[in-house]
């Protein structure tokens, strides 16, 4: 028996989410008495990078370096994962609930006839044959505990839900042939575009977000400056993306992206229920709004009642001083 994880990498760079799933899987294996944690890597990743997954408790990495995997096809990646899951007799498979996980996990659930809980936020409760996983539902307005009734279980873990703690183990890297061929790849990737040099929003630990209170796109310079001092990603409310002040991929909320960073700073955002739905699971929320009655203050940990055009530059200055003292 074993717990299998999927190595998520972009051009050979292993994503932080993979380390989250590795640490999570390590704990799941202990809780469920499920043996060792094994990782499957598809495409080209350096052996030393793969061996470093041992830091999070992975004992072996199966590496299928067939170049067909360097372009993402959900069907081909699913097929390889299913072959690996059977080869290592996996009783649990863990993926990240990010864009690749969302494409693979549901396919794998069908292929392995294994119940899937997606967007899991906590470790499973295991008792006898019972296996229950908590996930966020109603766009962050509630949690639900799902029992998985099948022998093999699949969990896709919400990004930023499980801490990465590194030891100093080393995983053994083994060559693996999943039997997937070019004929299994149905999509032809034309190009990939990196959205920005900054941190991708879904995995960001710190987020600075702004709304209609900023009055126009020309005023986002101060938001970007604050974000860059913090090393934070930028986000926005829906109307701001709708009128193209900011790109669509920054839209957070019930109909945008759901995020749960360690710190969410909301500037000039009223805190409508649909906005809160996507951000309320953030660990710490700061609200800056000139209206003391703005509903967002009810969902905040810290608040500043004031004009963003005055408060934000002062806050940025204070952070600069803090950073220079703590550098």
């Amino acid at each position: 028996m074993s717990v299998l994880i999927y190595v998520n990498h972009v051009n050979g760079n292993i994503k932080k989410s993979t380390f989250e799933t590795a640490c999570y899987a390590h704990r799941v294996a202990q809780l469920a008495g499920a043996g060792e944690v094994i990782a499957l890597s598809l495409g080209t990743v350096s052996e030393s990078d793969l061996a470093a997954l041992g830091n999070c408790g992975v004992s072996r990495v199966l590496s299928d370096t067939n170049p067909v995997f360097n372009r993402f096809d959900s069907g081909a990646h699913t097929k390889a994962l299913a072959v690996a899951a059977n080869a290592v007799n996996a009783s649990v498979v863990v993926l990240s609930h990010n864009s690749s996980g969302k494409a693979i996990a549901p396919r794998l659930s069908v292929r392995l006839q294994a119940g899937l809980v997606s967007a899991a936020t906590e470790l499973p409760q295991v008792s006898g044959s019972g296996f229950t996983v908590r996930k966020s539902v109603f766009s962050g307005k509630a949690f639900a505990d799902y029992s998985i009734n099948t022998p093999v279980k699949i969990i896709s873990l919400n990004p930023n839900s499980y801490p990465v703690t590194r030891g100093n183990g080393t995983a053994a890297v083994e060559t693996f042939n999943s039997g997937v061929s070019a004929a299994d790849v149905k999509v032809k990737v034309i190009e990939t575009k990196s959205l920005s040099d900054t941190i991708p929003l879904p995995e960001a630990e710190l987020v600075v977000s702004a709304g209609r209170g900023m009055k126009g796109p020309e005023n986002w310079g101060m938001i970007e400056e604050l974000a860059s001092i913090l090393g934070a990603a930028t986000a926005c409310s829906r109307p701001v993306a709708d009128v193209h002040w900011r790109p669509h991929h920054e839209h957070v909320g019930q109909t945008g992206i759901t995020i749960r960073p360690n710190l969410y700073i909301a500037i000039g955002i009223s805190g409508a229920i649909q906005h809160l739905a996507g951000v309320s699971n953030s660990k710490v929320i700061v609200v800056i709004n000139k209206d003391a009655e703005a509903p967002f203050f009810k969902a905040a940990d810290y608040g500043i009642i004031g004009d963003a055009f005055e408060v934000v530059p002062k806050l940025t200055q204070a952070l600069k001083e803090f950073k220079s003292q703590n550098a």
């Binding site: 505990d145 913090l230 929320i285 608040g303 204070a318």
Partner: protein
């Protein structure tokens, strides 16, 4: 082009979320239901636009009880779908719903099957991938742009930290998100004709419950907000560092 759009019923975005029966069931008391926003705004509208451009038909499919005809199906027909299928069952988990859709679609030769990126109630993002695997079709998730020429589609989709442009041949399954299309408000003529459009009711196929929901819980209430003097944002920096320990 023969297009199928999977539509789901969800609580309205402002609905109060509460539970009954020892927190084992969602309390629908006083809740207004709507068509899941990404299904309506992006999947359905883009399917209708493609039909308008290339000809063909748009069918919507919903797994759910009879009420769903008035709550979601009529609206989809009013916006511009040509006909509808309702699988007459209470939707169980994602695998149950996907199995019903796949069982119906199997012999229908759809060129394209759409879903929204995820529902706003169970937030799984599962149906599209499951339907694709059940029908052995390519699955393109989280797409924000789709163009079709002949039997080749060019799609932009979200990947980690970026976007990917890809080509794929029909038939395939696609999940649609923001950028795909703009919301359409049904017009009077649409609303008038919706009731006379064909609606087929199909019995469900038997499917095992892979997962069941045992318990619901509301998140803990946040403590009262701590207000900081706008003249002294360095206080906030200090609290974020020393108290909240997030910077």
């Amino acid at each position: 082009m023969k297009l199928l759009v999977c539509i789901s019923k969800t609580p309205d975005t402002t609905a109060k979320i509460a539970f009954t029966d020892n927190n084992s069931r969602f309390d629908t008391n006083g809740v207004t239901f709507i068509m899941n926003p990404t299904d309506e705004w992006y999947a359905l509208v883009r399917a209708i636009e493609i039909k308008e451009q290339l000809g063909g038909s748009v069918t919507v499919i919903n797994v759910g009880p009879k009420d769903n005809e008035t709550v979601v199906i009529h609206k989809a027909l009013a916006i511009g779908a040509d006909d509808a299928v309702r699988i007459d069952a209470d939707p169980g988990d994602a695998f149950f719903v996907a199995s019903q859709i796949a069982a119906y679609a199997k012999d229908q030769q759809y060129d394209l099957i759409f879903t929204g990126k995820e529902t706003i109630d169970y937030n799984g993002s599962n149906i599209g991938g499951m339907v694709a695997e059940l029908l052995d079709l390519p699955y393109i998730s989280l797409a924000n742009h789709l163009e079709i020429a002949g039997n080749t589609a060019t799609i932009t989709r979200e990947i980690e930290g970026g976007l990917e442009v890809l080509e794929v041949n029909t038939p395939f399954v696609i999940s649609a998100q923001k950028g795909m299309a703009e919301q359409r408000i049904p017009n009077m003529r649409g609303i008038m004709t919706a009731r006379s459009k064909p609606l087929k009711v199909v019995p469900p196929v038997p499917v095992a419950a892979y997962t069941t929901i045992a318990y619901y819980e509301l998140p803990p209430q946040r403590k009262e907000v701590k207000l900081i003097d706008p003249e002294h944002p360095e206080e906030l920096v200090k609290l974020l560092h020393e108290q909240a320990k997030v910077i």
